[in-house]
């Protein structure tokens, strides 16, 4: 056992309401759990991409699932009433529990009525949430967790670190070590087979002698009272078939209207979760089962009995909360955990609370516990990669923005200094650029770095980006760029990052566009709201979004599309503004008319029937091998493919990264408390660049995002280019 394992246990950092808990949990996770979590989540993630690609009508199926869930949550009381009738009509018992205490008490009393000594239990996050085992054990009832992951956690006394694979943080080696320490046995415990065989033998005995079986439920239909239970090990089949009494516990949000629609969720769940078309067993049952009663241990046979316990515990309040409501659509598939670059790196003991973990976990911990329990939602970088993966289309980053906003203002107080510092990037940048090069020297000077770290939590190990004395605005004016034979016109959006830190890229874009016959107007420098949104400063972000959108609308109405060189800003227009603008038509207009520069070039080629061979001369560049890293949000909004397409069309040898995100994620990587996490997330990308290089031939590295370029440059010490910088070299 390592030092840190003795020092910090997952259990003691499960509750994240104290700020220090998150820091300790991150330290523990990076030291002990990261390798196993990374291996397992990335495998799930790869398999999911393959599995959902096989579903012909994947997008339509997701829309349908979302529609059913919206309807179901809206009509929850009605559905519960219907379900109650159905269950009671066939001799089952229905119990709606308002609180976790009520739920635990009811289950305990059922067990006591049957004089139960042993309960076999299948995995159920809801039962974790209500701390059912504790209540039963207090009453002298033995609870045997039968899902192998939960079995491990019962031995190690840890909380789940993942909602589908709760022991994902333990490697086979660490399971062997644990079992050898805790069990006195002669059986070998060295391979996966050994460990499975060992647990199977113990659990088989439990199944055959248990008095009560407790399961969860993945989905329930109100019309027939049918319960879906998805699994692979067979333990759920045992729990629901072997003992005479079956209790199913689920949240009230699991009920949908029609049995026929269960298929929508069945077809989405396994592909989204583990990347299988279906897992080994998908149980479709209307308990009590019409099976003869069994008795494996000679006791008298009992008639089968069934109880359905539906738990509210805060869910009704979530329903009334206009923002958190969408968390109730969650089907607990874990796609958002597996795709998340931060979750892949630290897992759910850091990025999670007592029960729920990952991006979706914050809303659930807040909804079923207290807002403070959701403190770990700070680990959401807003990279947005979870958005296209969610089978019910929950906007998870937005949920975390909302939580952050609420946590910022617990008693209507001002937001913390760090949030205000990063959230007001525009004004800091404007002031800094007035004083360059002094401000650059000052801001990277060790005394000021320690002050920055102390007051604003800016990690001193990060090199701060220089501010350009000559902003894009000034240089654009001086350059007087004229389009030759102008065929169209467009606005280049002077976002704050490009204007103050990367004016070259803006200028180059304007020049390339001019050569392609596009007359460029440079926009005013407007804070568009990205920085404030990512700090959870929603009111400020909304104001900025309104202002920028109205400004750009005038240009668009005058026939000018908007070109945006910084992908995080483009994503703001095409994705985040749906939350920030209270004007769906304006959002749609901006979404439709804003372009990544290369997207716009491809658009020009098709629109005007231009021949790229006449526009570009790739041979001007001696290096024809490229490594292109797609910015996280750029991929989510579908604006990255254009870059790959164009460079491949031009004959370049292109390798792309397969990581979800570089790990810098705007301000995230600059924050002292997340510096190590950010660096660790970035390792995969650096490895991939290394692998793509040939021994004596380094590829040109391209990345559209300013943060991505900084993250790569800070480790590899080689230039990283915006794709437009390469196009400028080969145009004409």
């Amino acid at each position: 056992m390592s030092e840190i394992e003795k020092e910090i246990t997952p259990r003691e950092v499960a509750d994240k309401s104290a700020k220090e808990a998150l820091q300790k949990a991150i330290r523990m996770a990076l030291a002990i759990e990261s390798d196993a979590v990374r291996l397992n989540t990335q495998t799930f993630n790869r398999n999911r991409y393959t599995a959902v690609a096989e579903i012909e009508d994947y997008e339509a199926l997701k829309d349908r699932a979302r529609e059913i869930k919206e309807y179901s949550i809206e009509n929850n009381e009605k559905l519960l009433g219907r379900l109650r009738q159905v269950i009671e009509k066939r001799g089952g018992h229905f119990y709606p529990a308002r609180t976790k205490e009520e739920a635990c008490e009811y289950v305990k009393n059922v067990c006591l009525k049957h004089e139960a000594k042993l309960v076999v239990k299948a995995k159920s996050m809801t039962s974790e949430e209500i701390k059912l085992n504790h209540t039963l054990e207090e009453a002298g009832i033995e609870v045997a967790e039968t899902d192998l992951a939960e079995f491990i956690l019962q031995v190690s006394d840890e909380q789940p670190s993942h909602i589908v694979a709760p022991a994902i943080h333990r490697s086979r080696e660490r399971i062997s070590e644990l079992f050898k320490e805790k069990f006195d046995t002669d059986q070998p415990l060295d391979t996966g087979e050994d460990l499975t065989k060992f647990a199977r033998k113990i659990l088989r005995q439990k199944f055959l002698t248990a008095d009560v079986g407790i399961s969860g439920a993945n989905v329930i239909s109100a019309d027939t009272g049918t319960i879906v239970l998805v699994e692979s090990e067979g333990n759920i089949r045992m729990v629901t078939q072997a003992p005479p009494v079956h209790i199913a516990i689920a949240g009230i949000e699991k009920v949908i209207p029609r049995r026929e629609d269960l298929a929508v969720f069945i077809e989405l769940l396994a592909p989204s979760a583990t990347g299988q078309p279906l897992t080994s067993y998908t149980n479709i049952i209307d308990p009590p089962l019409d099976l003869p009663p069994f008795s494996f241990d000679g006791r008298p046979k009992k008639e089968r009995e069934f109880h359905l316990v539906l738990v509210d515990n805060g869910r009704s309040n979530m329903r009334k909360d206009p923002e958190l409501k969408q968390a109730l659509y969650c089907v607990r598939c874990s796609a958002c955990l597996n795709v998340c670059p931060v979750f892949q790196t630290v897992g759910g003991h850091a990025f999670g609370g007592e029960t729920y973990s990952g991006g979706i976990g914050g809303a659930w911990e807040a909804g079923t516990g207290t807002l403070e329990n959701a403190g770990f939602s700070e680990l959401c970088t807003g990279c947005s990669r979870c958005i296209p993966q969610c089978p019910v289309k929950i906007d998870i980053p937005w949920l975390n923005t909302v939580l952050r906003n609420r946590l910022n203002h617990p008693d209507g107080k001002k937001a913390p200094a760090q949030k205000r510092f990063f959230g007001n990037f525009a004004s800091s940048a404007r002031i800094a650029s007035l004083f360059t090069p002094v401000s650059n020297r000052v801001s990277n000077f060790s005394v000021s770095r320690s002050l920055l770290e102390h007051f604003f939590g800016v990690d001193r190990r990060r090199e701060l980006q220089n501010f350009a004395g000559q902003t894009l605005t000034k240089r654009f004016k001086k350059a007087n760029i004229q389009a030759s034979e102008a065929k169209s016109s467009a606005v280049l959006f002077a976002d704050v990052y490009t204007n103050y830190q990367n004016p070259d890229i803006g200028l180059i874009t304007a020049k390339v566009m001019a050569k392609l016959g596009v007359e460029i107007t440079l926009s005013d420098v407007l804070p568009e709201g990205r920085a404030s949104q990512s700090q959870g400063l929603i009111d400020i972000a909304r104001k900025r979004a309104q202002q920028t959108a109205r400004y750009l609308e005038k240009m668009i109405d005058a026939g000018k599309p908007v070109i945006v060189t910084e992908p995080s800003v483009l994503a703001l227009f095409r994705l985040d503004y749906r939350n920030l603008l209270n004007d769906a038509a304006l959002f749609q207009k901006l979404k439709k008319m804003s372009y990544d520069p290369i997207e716009y070039i491809l658009h020009l080629f098709t629109e005007n029937g231009m021949d790229w061979k006449k526009c570009f001369s790739p041979q001007k560049l001696s290096q024809q091998k490229l490594f292109i890293h797609g910015h996280c949000q750029q991929k989510t909004i579908g604006a990255f493919d254009a870059t790959v397409t164009l460079f491949r069309q031009l004959g370049f040898d292109v390798v792309t990264s397969s990581v979800e995100c570089c790990g810098m994620a705007g301000s995230f990587g600059y924050k002292k408390q997340f510096y190590e996490v950010s660096k660790k997330v970035g390792e995969d990308l650096l490895d991939q660049i290394g692998q793509a290089d040939e021994a004596d031939d380094e590829r040109l590295v391209l990345a559209g995002g300013i943060s991505c370029r900084e993250q790569i440059r800070s480790e590899l010490n080689r230039p990283v280019y915006h794709p437009m910088e390469v196009l400028e070299k080969i145009i004409g």
Binding site: N40, E54, T146, D147, L148, A149, F151, I152, A165, A167, S171, R172, E173, I175, T191, G192, E193, L195, T196, A199, R200, L203, R204, F207, L208, T224, T226, S232, E233, G234, N235, R237, M238, Q241, R259, E260, L262, A263, V264, I266, E267, Q276, P277, L278, T279, S280, Y281, T282, N283, I284, I285, D286, L289, D290, L291, P292, F294, S295, F296
Partner: protein
């Protein structure tokens, strides 16, 4: 017909990807009996669930095979190695079979044993899981059942291990009209 043939091919490859084995057998009592007797040879006891879906005459001769038990005690159910059941449908896209949970004990025999042999008519293969629900909704039937996709498995102990609480082997006997 051609469409059904496609579904059959798709089913076989998906089931094999899920680590099940598929044996194509002519749809006749004699051919089925021959296939089963190969599997049960040398076994002292083999559990046989009464069919929920397939015609009884197909299973009649199976009951005569040596070692076959059709009404097992709990003790036999919990300790016998091989169990035979029918499946009322197959799903081409996922390689799953659908086994009913009923008093015929198919749902239990396919769970407690270490090797599950499932008899499936090729005619009952549908394209996707939703087709089963549509069919049942039309017939006003909400039979308890389980989609079985390959043997029971876990990755909770690190590497993928097959054979946890349910069978470690799933063998599907696919009954086809044409001579195969």
């Amino acid at each position: 017909m051609e469409n059904q043939q496609n579904l059959i091919e798709q089913f076989i490859s998906a089931a094999e990807r899920a680590a099940a084995t598929v044996e194509r057998v002519h749809n006749s009592p004699a051919a089925l009996s021959q296939a089963i007797s190969k599997i049960t040879a040398g076994e002292k006891t083999v559990l046989l669930a009464e069919p929920d879906y397939l015609p009884d005459e197909l299973f009649r001769s199976l009951r005569e095979l040596p070692g076959i038990i059709t009404h097992p005690t709990e003790e036999q159910m919990a300790t016998t190695k091989i169990g035979i059941t029918d499946a009322f449908a197959g799903v081409a896209g996922t390689g799953s079979i659908c086994v009913a949970l009923s008093r015929n004990l198919g749902g239990s025999i396919s769970l407690y044993t270490r090797e599950h042999v499932a008899v499936l008519s090729a005619q009952s293969i549908v394209s996707r899981p939703r087709d089963i629900f549509t069919m049942q909704a039309k017939g006003g039937n909400h039979q308890d059942f389980v989609f079985i996709t390959g043997p029971s498995a876990t990755a909770d102990m690190g590497p993928l291990v097959r054979g946890v609480h349910g069978p470690g082997k799933l063998h599907i006997i696919l009954l086809e009209e044409t001579d195969v």
